[in-house]
Symmetry: C2
Subunit: 211 residues, 2 copies
């Protein structure tokens, strides 16, 4: 026992160059605009991670050192901004999942992934929100990515079951929600990392086949 890992993965930066690609014909975005776009993204990343989806939009603008109007020029909607951030994070998580799903030792991959997953969800409040809490509609927004993620996890689960490593009567989504519960537990104590690892291990113990 002791499946730490958390690898390097899943801490990608939100980037993309809005200057180009939008309308290949027109002039590139003005320098100050690009700078602001970046500042907003940066601020949103920090604030959403800390306070989640519920934070008022003007807080983000303020933090970015930018007016509300400017923010809305770059992102037509609060949701649009939120999407940008969360989908990037989800994308990174999916990449991790895909890697883990290929681990020669199925259970090993599962453990690694769940720990990474838990860490990310507890560090990034927005991700956490998107993954479970909040409105159902928010979930719908990322449904395709969610499906992709779930399907990766299902691969891990199935392979582990076939290897006789975990119980065959547990659904993938159950595992996911159990881990989310762990995040919730660890989150509200300011209790960083330490206990989260332990909780995830409890869940893992629970889904393993009894020796």
């Amino acid at each position: 026992m002791d499946h730490r890992g958390t690898r390097d993965v899943a801490d990608a930066k939100v980037s993309s160059s809005p200057a180009i690609s939008e309308h290949p014909e027109s002039r590139p975005m003005r320098a100050d605009a690009m700078r602001n776009h970046e500042k907003i993204l940066r601020a949103a990343e920090e604030i959403f991670a800390l306070d989640g989806v519920m934070v008022p939009i003007d807080i983000v603008a303020e933090r970015a050192g930018v007016g509300i109007g400017t923010l809305y020029r770059h992102f037509p909607t609060k949701e649009a901004l939120y999407d940008e951030i969360v989908s990037t994070r989800l994308r990174a998580l999916i990449d991790t999942a895909q890697t883990c799903a290929k681990d020669p030792i199925a259970l090993e991959g599962m453990c690694t992934f769940l720990h990474t997953f838990a860490l990310q969800a507890s560090e990034k409040q927005d991700l956490f929100d998107a993954l479970g809490q909040a409105g159902i509609d928010i979930k719908a927004r990322f449904s395709d990515m969610l499906d992709e993620l779930t399907s990766c996890m299902d691969t891990m689960r199935q392979r582990s079951v076939e290897a006789g490593a975990i119980r065959d009567d547990v659904e993938t989504k159950d595992i996911l929600n159990l881990v989310m519960g762990s995040c919730h537990a660890a989150g509200y104590d300011g209790d960083n990392g330490a206990s989260l690892e332990r909780l995830v291990d409890i869940v893992l113990t629970g889904i393993k086949t009894p020796d």
Copy 2:
């Protein structure tokens, strides 16, 4: 394995007689007023259970067949109404916990309680909200009851540990949050009961001492 139970407990009715006790001197509450008080409480119970804390207050009034003004006459605040409902439910849960804490077989009591707890939290959305989600401030409102509940659970946990039945490195609050995670999982599928039992069992397996 198969610790069902869910006993009879924990389904108490919200009651109390507002007519008396308020001002022992003054006249008793008018008949229609008492009827309305009751109707409001009844409606709130149903709606909060179904939709949680977030439901607009006028929905409750409407359901009770009463004007908003009337509702506010009886409960000066949305929170007041919410308090009434949730604290009654919490009280019932504490009673169950106290009973379970006395079970001669410590682990048995723990299992019974956790299943009851999970069932209640998943059936009564408001209880669920109060216990975890939502704002931290809501939690603060019931802090003394929460403490009482936690202390009961801690008794169970400690006795189980002493009996060598469960791991000694798990905190009470961890257990609670793990179970909440289960509720969350079961809740959003309209998946009633069946899978919830299974999830709680997973958690229980996870916290037991390896054979």
